[in-house]
């Protein structure tokens, strides 16, 4: 399944995650940003903010990054939530639509987190079924993002990279490759993040990677005195993540890259400066890609 044509396609440039506190500034000043990404759940019942987003959308390419589809739910994806997303997609005509390789709904309750899946054949079947259901309802391809993980299930028999690669292959979805999540997960499991990223590069078909995410994270100490990294999107992108991003660009080539910042949201200018750091690396990757081609 292919992404549908959008009024404004997402360029392979650095975009910015738009949050409600920045609406007024973006509406008034139209600050420079290659593209914007929002969480659709913030606009499903807040019609005032949706009207603002429609006006913003006229000036920027847009991506919808969902957090509530619960693609890993054994009970399936909530049809009413898909319908709400479908109506938004129809109204906003985003270039990209995505969600996560995780679950958040069980027994009719919604838990606002990206909860981990056991990477088993059974879970693979469930995720592929759910992704297919969403893509069918939306009439377009979605991207699925690798989450940050803080625990591993003993039952997991498939490496995460191979699991998501299989989801993409079987369902026809694309991959949203979150570099910060790779670093957070690898660090929390005491793995070498560069080696883990290499495994992802080998497992994924580069053509399926439709977007890259970058973000900052927090570092806390556990009761046992160990270091734990928490993917809170509340800081600048750290140096090791920039290095992993360069490694990913060298392998996958330039891709639309989104700077996410959710907690302790700084002024929009800080996000622009952070996106500019990503853009520098994208420009360099573009040049290398061009040099290889000629």
């Amino acid at each position: 399944m292919s992404p549908v044509a959008s009024v404004h396609p997402i360029p392979a440039r650095a975009g910015i995650g738009l949050r409600l506190p920045h609406h007024a500034l973006v509406l008034a000043e139209h600050p420079a940003a290659a593209w914007l990404e929002v969480h659709p759940e913030n606009y499903m019942s807040d019609l005032h903010s949706l009207a603002e987003l429609e006006r913003i959308r006229a000036h920027y390419p847009l991506s919808l990054h969902a957090v509530g589809l619960s693609l890993g739910s054994a009970q399936g994806v909530d049809a009413s939530h898909i319908e709400r997303l479908r109506r938004l997609v129809e109204r906003l005509e985003p270039a990209l639509v995505s969600d996560h390789l995780s679950w958040s709904t069980a027994g009719g309750q919604y838990l606002p987190d990206l909860l981990p899946l056991p990477y088993t054949e059974e879970a693979l079947h469930i995720v592929c079924r759910n992704v297919a259901q969403v893509q069918e309802a939306l009439g377009r391809q979605i991207l699925v993002e690798n989450p940050s993980t803080y625990l591993r299930f003993a039952a997991s028999a498939i490496p995460e990279a191979e699991f998501l690669a299989a989801v993409a292959e079987r369902s026809g979805c694309g991959v949203l490759f979150d570099v910060n999540n790779i670093y957070v997960s690898a660090s929390n499991q005491h793995f070498d993040a560069r080696a883990v990223l290499g495994e992802w590069c080998r497992a994924l078909d580069a053509r399926t990677v439709g977007e890259i995410h970058l973000a900052g994270h927090a570092v806390v100490e556990t009761a046992a005195g160990d270091e734990l990294r928490i993917d809170d999107h509340g800081d600048h992108v750290c140096k090791p993540v920039w290095a992993l991003y360069e490694q990913a660009l060298a392998h996958f080539g330039p891709r639309p890259t989104l700077l996410e910042w959710d907690t302790r949201l700084p002024p929009f200018g800080v996000l622009q400066a952070e996106a500019a750091l990503a853009q520098t690396r994208l420009d360099s990757a573009q040049q290398q890609s061009y040099a290889r081609a000629v």
Binding site: M44, L151, L228
Partner: protein, 248 residues
């Protein structure tokens, strides 16, 4: 796992460690997810109930919010719609005995937040009323009438402005208070109205004609008392536009 993340006691929070592998104990990862879930829900509620949050303080609000989240977790991912049950839940919450108006304040904030999510409708889409002499009243949409035993609008304004003098001057003796609330392009507006105006507007919003609405307003007062009340409260209010009769 969902039950373990929402459980309040250690026994309910525990999952067999044999289910997990990796560098950290499963309990460590579960704690991260539990903090994320409950923290996100408390923050979502804080956004919907800012005056309640300021009044009781962040730590106490978190305690109430987490207890509420455990008792009534959301059913859908649109967290800006989450919290309709909070006003009843925190009315009489242990430790708030000195704040008998807390539940009503929360109820008012819920109405306020609910209206904030609405779009101001075009001028012509609200209810309208044909009066004698060809005068027509056009009412704003959405328009809601809110009743409380405490002066919740004044309380909310003083708390959010952190105006201790205004707060101390508010008469907290329980009696009937009525408010008209409506949405414009610029935000939510609130106007204190009389019981008669509240009855009149409630009837208008329910689709009553002029005769029935005026009859509702006059209940217990007599028709003669109604005209001046409506002239002073309704006509000059920002939620109504008066259309004069067309000339011949």
């Amino acid at each position: 796992m969902a039950a373990a993340l929402l459980a309040a006691d250690a026994a309910g929070q525990a999952m067999p460690e044999a289910l997990f592998s990796g560098a950290h104990a499963g309990a460590v990862g579960l704690r991260v997810h539990r903090n994320t879930v409950l923290g996100a829900l408390a923050n979502a509620l804080r956004l919907g109930f800012p005056a309640v949050d300021k009044l009781v303080g962040e730590a106490f609000f978190d305690r109430m919010a987490v207890e509420f989240a455990r008792a009534q977790p959301p059913r859908a991912p649109q967290l800006d719609e989450y919290g309709q049950g909070l006003p009843n839940f925190i009315a009489g919450f242990p430790g708030t005995e000195a704040l008998p108006y807390l539940g009503e304040l929360a109820q008012f904030e819920w109405q306020f937040a609910d209206l904030a999510r609405c779009c101001a409708a075009p001028d012509s889409s609200g209810p309208s009323l044909q009066l004698e002499g060809g005068v027509r009243l056009h009412f704003a949409a959405p328009l809601r009438i809110h009743a409380a035993r405490y002066p919740v609008e004044q309380l909310r304004a003083a708390i959010l402005a952190e105006d201790a003098i205004a707060l101390a001057g508010i008469d907290l003796a329980p009696r009937d208070h009525h408010y008209a609330m409506w949405r414009t392009e610029y935000g939510v507006n609130v106007r204190t109205i009389s019981a008669a105006s509240a009855r009149f507007l409630t009837a208008v919003c329910a689709g009553a004609d002029a005769m029935a609405a005026l009859g509702a307003a006059a209940e217990g007062l007599g028709e003669a008392a109604i005209a001046p009340i409506l002239a002073q409260e309704i006509v000059p209010a920002g939620f109504v536009r008066v259309e004069a009769p067309h000339g011949g």
